[in-house]
């Protein structure tokens, strides 16, 4: 009767197994840790995300909620058992539809959908939504998942389908299945927590329960001695290097382990390293630490008040950075404007809520510390970890695993220095997978913003001036606060000609969670302010809201608010024009609907975006290396981390066409700091543009080398044959290069090239004038929705999105980015509000489910930018910027009231409706 291990027999994917496990141990833990079936993912351990969905006797269940005792005698099916030798029809369909991005939710989606398809081979959309309502996806926006399940019956099961890759010269603009896709649908993909060595120590992290707290330790040696299986405890005193990290080195201020005082709830203070069996039995509540809670400052206004305690003594007024852009004379322009509107807007902390909590392991070999973990920025991880641990950067080796979503938060280091410290100090591998709560409490968030703005036009509705001021709650540490403060003033005008302008954005410290990078770096917040005021202006002017935007939109030759003259590639007018027929239809439908309905009002909203790709006025290089191997492949050393967005595929497509060889000749290497040069971080919508450009340059150099070797002209074409033959054709001539006879370099390449690209920008002066970005992307979206006037609930009807991507290198992946960004925009608009200490899980913190994302129509606009590879611009962040303001504008259109705080929950919407009625 003891809760002791006992043999439990069951079948997994048809094969009988017997494991010795405690009866109340979760099935998910046994599948992953005892049976090595890591295809079943753990996203929350609470039934909130569905990533661990398996079938138990044919019914989908959450493996994280299933005691091993309940598995005795049962048949369990996991993602690994769905395909047999090839892929199941559903797996093939998911791949073909681009319905797996990062892939972390994919196993849960596959299992839940398979249970449906085995009952109903060709389900309708409603049935698919019902079946998948319990699996959260943060990347795709679900639409491609719905389509893939509905059309699964069109695929033939049991074999790997022929996903033929485009021929030479036709990779760019094609939508081949993602090159890293098959492993994502079979469960074979290894994410941060999927390859822990069996002998690794488990690392547990002791974290602050208070927003601000002093602390002191009890007898740590006695704690180690008294707890079986605990090997060591480490605190800040054990850190050999500089206990301070940060994504922007001059602002680095965050300790890996706090010293004496914590500045936010969830901050780490100590590590417990123990045997993995002991980790399951250890209650961190008994860790010897005394906390003394200190008064905390949670709001920027309070942090700015005179006499407020300083979060960092070196930052008076708790001001981290203030960004300013000033152009013309905004004050005078507004004084002379014919129509002027003013407003204020507030946003909340938003959690990235990737379904993969941070995870990884570290080990030391030959004096080199290797960290195998999910990440968005391997080279930054290396440098920060090396500094904290007192190692030379070349003594730290970062091996990124597949990353189960990032969206900005996996740029900052999280567990890397922690597991690194344990591995370094103990000499044993050290592994750590954050719990959901730990991930949510300790990692970065989107900045809450409190903004005011005034915008004025002349009598014809041409923008004359704008003043914007925003306070951004940057939380306890700097992270990307400076980036947000500097990027917001550049973008707060929206993609509109604004001759007189003054904008400032302040990043202000509080004892809240650290605000960092999150898809858009503050621009989504600022755009809510600007685009909602634009609707008010259009209404006051009695101009159609789309026409108002069209007439003010930037065009080639326009000057931005930083005084940058945009010579070419400005696509916002094209985006708005592409939306015009949809806009007219939507307005007409809404009008008709509202005549016939009582209690529910249909509304239509529109909003635009622009977004500079890459760092703001700072160096931002990418380096790409590639070459030809003796066996006749093109090895692409691809360091632009693919966190689901598709850089593994897109960079290869660019290289393929630049080289003139088919995509099928390419093999990917990396990202890994020991073999791939630094392609920068996956952020700022820069990988397709910046790393893509570096790949294009490197490839052209490689091609020149080959042509020179073959002594042919630039017109020659290349062909790789099996067995290591390179054929060079020119005119009727054919030269044959036997690659195996050439001497390979240290990378095993017989022809190789490496090139860097850094966007040509200029610094901003004291008034924020200059050329902050070399390339901008543009977009606009229409939201159609219904508001229940008695409940304040919103039902989205459709989103239509037109985005200027310059050149769609891979249209399917671009659509995937758009749909996924829209889903995050929906969450920001309607439901996402992170409250430290209160919503540290995925049932109190809500992200959209499959039932919350309406049909999305994507219009890819291609206005090439000569700076980008094949004319391409960035896209990743642009896509969520217009969504929330379009939704808020649609709610206003439906109800007559603007909700000025997001998320616009039913409670807030109804309050606004009732307030307006008074």
């Amino acid at each position: 009767m003891k809760n002791d291990r006992a043999p439990i027999s069951f079948t997994v994917n048809g094969a009988p197994v017997s494991v010795s496990a405690a009866p109340m141990r979760r099935l998910s833990s046994v599948l992953r840790d005892e049976l090595g079936l890591t295809g079943t993912k753990v996203g929350c351990d609470a039934g909130d995300c569905g990533a661990c969905t398996v079938m138990l006797d044919g019914e989908p269940v959450c493996a994280c909620l299933l005691p091993m005792a309940s598995v005795e005698g049962a048949a369990v099916r996991t993602v690994e058992g769905l395909g047999g030798d090839g892929l199941s029809a559903l797996q093939a369909s998911l791949l073909a539809h681009g319905a797996a991005q990062c892939g972390i939710c994919t196993p849960g989606i596959l299992v839940a959908a398979t249970a449906l398809l085995e009952r109903n081979a060709s389900p309708g959309e409603a049935a698919v939504q019902e079946a998948l309502g319990g699996v959260l996806c943060r990347c795709t926006g679900y639409r491609k998942i719905v389509a893939a399940v509905m059309e699964a019956h069109q695929h033939i099961p049991g074999r790997v389908p022929d996903f033929s890759l485009p021929p030479a010269g036709h990779a760019v603009g094609a939508s081949p299945v993602r090159l890293d896709g098959v492993a994502k649908v079979t469960g074979a993909e290894k994410f941060g927590g999927d390859s822990f060595p069996a002998d690794a120590l488990s690392v547990l992290v002791v974290r602050s329960p208070h927003h601000r707290s002093a602390f002191s330790f009890g007898d740590l040696e006695a704690y180690v001695a008294d707890n079986a299986g605990v090997v060591a405890v480490f605190t800040a005193a054990d850190i050999p290097g500089i206990n301070c990290f940060g994504v922007i080195p001059p602002f680095a201020d965050q300790p890996a382990l706090a010293e004496g005082e914590t500045r936010f709830r969830g901050e780490a203070i100590a590590l417990v390293a123990c045997e993995s069996w002991a980790a399951r039995e250890l209650d961190l509540a008994r860790f010897p630490v005394q906390w003394r809670e200190l008064p905390a400052v949670m709001e920027p206004a309070a942090a700015q008040a005179t006499g407020a305690a300083l979060i960092h003594s070196s930052r008076p007024g708790n001001l981290l950075v203030q960004g300013v852009v000033e152009h013309g004379d905004a004050k005078t322009a507004l004084a002379n404007a014919a129509v002027v509107v003013s407003g204020s807007f507030e946003t909340s902390y938003v959690e990235h809520a990737y379904i993969e909590p941070e995870a990884g392991y570290a080990f030391v070999n030959d004096g080199v510390l290797t960290i195998v973990a999910c990440t968005q920025a391997p080279h930054m991880d290396r440098d920060d970890t090396a500094r904290i641990l007192g190692l030379a950067p070349d003594k730290v080796h970062i091996v990124p695993t597949a990353t189960g979503g990032g969206f900005g938060s996996k740029i900052d280091v999280s567990l890397q220095p922690l597991i690194g410290l344990v591995a370094l100090k103990t000499g044993r591998p050290a592994a750590l997978a954050y719990t959901r709560t730990e991930s949510m409490a300790s990692t970065t968030k989107r900045h809450p913003a409190s903004m005011q703005a005034t915008i004025g036009t002349d009598a014809d509705g041409m923008i004359r001036g704008m003043i914007f001021a925003g306070d951004f709650n940057t939380g306890a540490y700097a992270s990307f606060g400076p980036t947000v403060a500097n990027r917001v003033p550049v973008h707060a005008s929206g993609p509109y000609a604004t001759p007189n302008y003054r904008a400032n954005a302040r990043a202000i410290h509080t004892n809240g969670p650290v605000s960092g990078a999150f898809r858009g770096f503050g621009v989504p917040q600022a755009t809510l302010m600007q685009e909602t005021l634009y609707d008010e202006l259009a209404d006051r002017l009695d101009i159609d809201r789309l026409q108002f935007r069209l007439q003010n939109a930037l065009r080639n030759g326009s000057e931005t608010v930083t005084g940058q003259r945009l010579e070419t590639g400005v696509g916002i007018i094209d985006c708005l024009a592409a939306l015009e027929p949809h806009w007219r239809r939507a307005l007409a439908e809404a009008e008709a609907f509202n005549v016939s309905q009582v209690g529910v009002r249909r509304g239509v909203g529109i909003a635009s975006c622009w977004y500079g790709c890459g760092n703001t006025s700072l160096p931002n290089p990418s380096t790409i290396k590639l070459g030809i191997t003796p066996d006749g492949k093109v090895a692409l050393h691809q360091g632009a981390v693919d966190i689901g967005q598709g850089s593994n595929t897109v960079i290869a497509q660019i290289a393929a066409d630049a080289l003139g060889l088919p995509l099928g000749d390419f093999v990917l290497r990396g990202a890994d700091t020991s073999i791939t040069p630094d392609a920068g971080k996956t952020s700022a919508s820069r990988q397709t543009y910046v790393s893509g450009k570096a790949a294009e340059k490197a490839t052209r150099t490689l091609r020149e080398k080959v042509l020179r070797y073959a002594n042919v002209s630039a017109e020659a074409s290349l062909q790789l044959l099996p067995g290591g033959l390179l054929l060079v054709h020119e005119g009727g001539e054919r030269r044959r290069i036997d690659l195996a006879l050439l001497k390979p370099d240290g990378d095993g390449l017989v022809f190789a090239a490496e090139e860097s690209y850094d966007p040509p920008t200029t610094p901003l002066d004291a008034k924020g004038q200059g050329k902050p970005y070399a390339v901008y992307g543009y977009g606009a979206q229409i939201a159609e929705l219904e508001v229940d006037m008695a409940l304040g609930t919103v039902r989205l009807v459709k989103i239509t999105a037109a985005h200027d991507v310059g050149r769609a290198i891979n249209p399917l992946l671009a659509e995937g980015q758009i749909e996924g960004g829209i889903a995050q925009g929906i969450g920001m608009a309607l439901m996402e509000e992170y409250i430290p200490g209160r919503t540290e899980n995925l049932h109190d913190y809500l992200i959209p489910t499959i039932g919350d994302v309406p049909p999305i129509e994507t219009i890819l606009v291609e206005v090439p930018d000569p700076e980008g590879p094949f004319g391409a611009k960035g896209l990743g962040e642009h896509v969520l910027i217009p969504t929330a303001p379009a939704i808020l504008n649609a709610i206003r259109h439906a109800t007559g009231v603007l909700v000025t705080k997001v998320p616009a929950t039913p409670s807030r919407i109804l309050a606004a409706i009732q307030e307006a009625r008074r």
Binding site: G133, T437, H843, G851
Partner: protein, 285 residues
């Protein structure tokens, strides 16, 4: 080391309960989230081995939902239309993955103010069967749940069934859940209604309950009395005329107290209109 027991019979389980403090686990869908990453610190009785506690049975006087019956099993059981509210609630409990293991009885034992099953069971006048080695007692659901996460369950007792008297299975019922997203969501508020019409189409009897607007979901007896004898067309007006004194909503992350008061009135109306088979002149959300 904590203790674990998986009895095969009810008698065995009751014997264990009589000699110690145990945590009873069935579907475990509330158990594990509450446990989080901490180690197990309670002795556990796993009742999933007790075959007799599964399924829905019908006696002369009652429908008896045995303690292990999960929401999917309930959904798949043919039951009179009065159970429609409960079945609609069943489809809203967590996700299908949750419904496949979470038990009806567990939903009431967990005693969350936001338990979706409770209002739907309340309008069925559900009773809870509690058994210990010493005695069996049957108490109305309203008396079983005392407050937020509090029930009258004694240490030596377990819930063996949720019983619905046949007298309460006349008429039609409906359930309305209000949440901030479509699936997998904790209710901001929810309402269940059961309506019996007389021969002339008037409301003979109405049962109404609202959840998430007080520590324990509440029957709205005053409203029920006012509805008796009235035509369904008057539902909205009558609901509008009654103060919902039974409710004591709070402000939380899901909505304000004021919002809950306003929304409760609205969803009660909608549930009643649907249960009465009347046409709602307004489209549902």
């Amino acid at each position: 080391m904590t203790r674990y027991a998986k009895p095969k019979t009810l008698e065995e389980a009751l014997a264990l309960l009589s000699e110690g403090s145990w945590r009873i686990v069935a579907g475990a869908t509330d158990f594990y989230p509450a446990l989080g990453s901490r180690p197990l610190q309670q002795d556990v009785i796993d009742i999933n081995g007790i075959a007799a506690l599964r399924g829905v049975a019908e006696t002369d006087s009652h429908f008896i939902i045995a303690a292990r019956t999960n929401w999917t099993e309930l959904l798949r059981t043919p039951l009179p239309p009065a159970f429609d509210a409960l079945k609609q609630a069943a489809r809203e409990i967590g996700s299908i993955q949750i419904q496949n293991v979470a038990s009806v009885a567990g939903n009431i034992c967990n005693a969350s103010p936001a338990a979706d099953g409770v209002p739907a069971l309340q309008v069925l006048d559900a009773e809870v069967e509690l058994r210990s080695r010493r005695a069996t007692r049957i108490v109305p659901l309203d008396q079983f749940i005392l407050g937020n996460r509090k029930t009258i369950l004694r240490e030596d007792e377990m819930v063996t069934a949720v019983r619905v008297p046949k007298a309460a299975t006349a008429g039609n019922s409906a359930f309305y859940k209000l949440g901030a997203r479509r699936y997998l969501v904790i209710s901001i508020a929810m309402a269940a209604a059961r309506v019996i019409l007389d021969g002339e189409g008037r409301i003979a009897t109405a049962a109404v309950a609202v959840g998430s607007c007080s520590a324990v979901a509440q029957r709205l007896h005053r409203l029920e009395r006012d509805l008796a004898g009235q035509p369904p067309e008057f539902i909205e007006r009558i609901v509008g005329s009654v103060t919902f004194d039974e409710l004591a909503p709070i402000d939380d992350v899901r909505g304000s107290a004021a919002y809950r008061r306003a929304a409760a009135r609205e969803i009660v109306t909608r549930a009643l209109v649907q249960a009465a088979g009347a046409s709602d002149r307004r489209a549902a959300a």
